[in-house]
């Protein structure tokens, strides 16, 4: 259940800007990343997140043993799954917060 605080009471008319901002915020929390689709159909942001999520999975530590660090965890692979934005943030942490597209080569 999603509640949207529109910032007004029954006694006053809603501020259209507030309504739009609140709606966008609510939609943002509903943002999903569909990794069931072929890679070729993903937009640039989704593709970047896909590759970052795969990196998290491929380099994950599967057991408590230090020697298993980086061996990878197939259960974390995003392939064939649908993620919400919050799930992506949970998986990527700061990488997502800092922006999903970092290209060392920049602009060519």
């Amino acid at each position: 259940m999603i509640s949207i605080d529109l910032g007004y009471t029954d006694e006053t008319d809603p501020d259209p800007d507030l309504v739009q901002a609140a709606a966008q915020e609510a939609l943002s929390s509903l943002k999903i990343f569909d990794f069931t689709q072929p890679l070729e159909l993903m937009d640039a942001q989704t593709k970047n997140i896909y590759y970052r999520l795969r990196r998290v999975a491929l380099t994950a530590q599967t057991t408590e043993f230090e020697s298993d660090k980086g061996r990878g965890d197939a259960s974390l692979l995003p392939d064939g799954k649908v993620y919400t934005e919050s799930q992506v943030i949970e998986a990527l942490g700061e990488d997502y917060a800092q922006g999903v597209i970092i290209n060392k080569r920049c602009c060519g």
């Binding site: 689709q37 159909l41 990878g72 692979l77 060392k104 080569r105």
Partner: protein, 474 residues
Amino acid sequence: MPDFLLDNVGLWLSKRPETSLNNGYTLNTDYLKALTTAPAFVVPTIEFTSDAGKPGNGHEFPTRQCPTYVGHPAFSFTDEIAVSYPGRLLLRALGGAVTTAQQGGTAAYKHSCVMLDSLVNRQLPSTTMIAQLGGASFRLDGMVVDGYRLSQNRADVPQYSVDLVGSGDFVSPQAIGTAQVETATAAGTIGTPGNATVIVTAAGMPGSPRTVSVAVAGADTAATWAGKVRTQLALDPFVAYFFAISGASTSIVLTARYIAANDTTMNISLDNGTCTGITPAPTSANTTAGSFTLPATADILTCLDGNQTVISWTDTGGVQTLTGSGCAVRSSSIGVSNATKLNDRCPGDPTVTITDPLTALVTTPAYVSKMRHGARSANAQVVLTLDATIPDWFTYATNDVLTDVTFQYRGAIIASTFRYMLSLIMPKARITNISTGQDDGDATLTLDLTAFWDSATSTALKAEVINTETANYD
């Protein structure tokens, strides 16, 4: 004597991997014609043992020689990348089970596989290959991919090269199609003894038209002297290597040993030489028309575009795309080496029977029943122009792991955003060396990448092909 241009060699590869090693395909519809920029033809080699140098012979020279095994035939294809047979060989190079998936409901299909799990099986999928140039006509069974490489220089059309190596099993001449059969019918009883004159004509036969004299005796009936003609033709080296001679009674039947299109000039002429009594028969009957049914053209119509190549990986910094408007990539290559285990010989290995058509001498060398891969490796190389910063050197120097290292060679759009494509992907890799160099005077860095084993996807390399083949692409 006819001679042949090397470029005229005919090469065919089986559409699908053999159902088991050395189980060669026998139908024309099982094959695709293949091209290569480095033409060659194949003649199997036989390995022998001898007693050369053995103490006790009184000298160092051999006195006996015994055939043992057929040597491993090898053939390399090098050409522009295409999404037909080069893609199939790419999938066979890795050897895992191929998955085919329609892409976004369009006409595009993606065929992908990972490397064969060596803990389950080390026998890579095998290919049947036919090579034909003149008399060198061989069907080679049990050819496995020993190495496969995709490469590109600047934005030239991407290239592939594949090295095939075989078990030694072969069939010669290759027998797909219909062999032409000519039949002459003898008539007349010999009056004056002497020689009959038989003239055999065929477009590809050395020495054609070949005149053979056959000694006949007085009162020989047609069936009797026809038998003498058959015997004499079977002893003639020109005729016997080109035709199998058969027939009964008055029939003299010549069956071409090599499959070829129908030759309207092929003929057996019977006439009196110094003898009398033969009813001249200048024209033989074309009992069975020859028919060459292997595909005549190679499916290479879909070209890949050099400017569409994508090389990318993900490192700690995120997704890095090396190709693009910066024109930094001067060349690239990625490949797999299967280190096929040769001479994997065992008691009980099967044999191939080789019979000389003229002398009837027979040998039965063996061939191997296993062509397992050895210690495989997958490597890549990218040559980049030197920039004002060198992020890749830091990636290398800090031993950062790369994930999803992708070399994607692409062509025209099939539908939506799906393009014809061949790609090799290292799920996990590292830059193992960086060296300096130059490309046409421009300073460059050469990055050597090595694929690492990825436990999550159970492979070190993944292959993908996108085309419009809906099924049975493996």
